[in-house]
Amino acid sequence: MSTPSLHIVNKSSLDSNALTSCLAVSTPGDCLLLIEDGAYSVLDPSGLQTLLHAHLEIYVLAEDMQARGLDAGSLDSRLCCVDYAGFVALACRCARTVSWS
């Protein structure tokens, strides 16, 4: 089975090991979406570095960034901002979702 998984992380990497655990057992080519407090992980420089080295497609939910005062414009160019419709499209493209909380 070569189709990717969509990992959904809803806790900040500064507050929880959800992101660390997720990255440990993800497969290169998987998609990772940061939602809810997971969006705060973009403020964590070391968390972000680990993310960017994981060979995943990384997305952040725009609405959750906006709600938390996180500026999508200053996001690292290797991270993509998606809205709810994009979230649905990702879920459809991936074979399974794995939620990390």
Binding site: S5, N17, A24, V25, R96
Partner: protein, 123 residues
């Protein structure tokens, strides 16, 4: 049940046994899935490995003992039970410290199980 209806379901449990409901909820889901003849992988990661620690006496805090239920897993044909090696090591534990026989799994082993699952439940 036809092979067509048989799914591979992976349950990841990452919470310590008391103070949160995740441990019991995961176990209930695993047993339910097994009763419906699904292929089940049961994976203990992070704090979840503490659920299997020997010597627990939850009666001391009026909590329910899960270890009896863990011992029943083979009766439900749940034999794909995996414990994250790194999580054990980080807590100074080994497979001998656990109430049931398990497979000690690397992160790569767990990634492979997830990758071959139809659905993954993670509490």
């Amino acid at each position: 049940m036809s092979e067509h209806a048989r799914k591979t379901l992976t349950f990841i449990t990452r919470k310590a046994p008391y103070g949160q409901h995740g441990a019991k909820a995961s176990l209930d889901m695993v047993l339910s899935a097994a009763v419906f003849d699904q292929q089940v992988h049961y994976i203990f990661m992070s704090e979840g490995v503490l659920q299997l620690r020997r010597g627990q006496q939850p009666g001391a805090i009026d909590a329910k003992d899960l270890s009896a239920a863990f011992s029943a897993l083979p009766l439900y044909d749940v034999d794909s039970i995996h414990v994250e090696a790194e999580a054990l090591q980080a807590r100074g534990m080994s497979a001998q410290d656990l109430v049931i026989p398990v497979k000690v799994a690397s992160a790569a082993d767990i990634a492979t199980l997830i990758h071959h699952s139809d659905a993954v439940f993670n509490l």
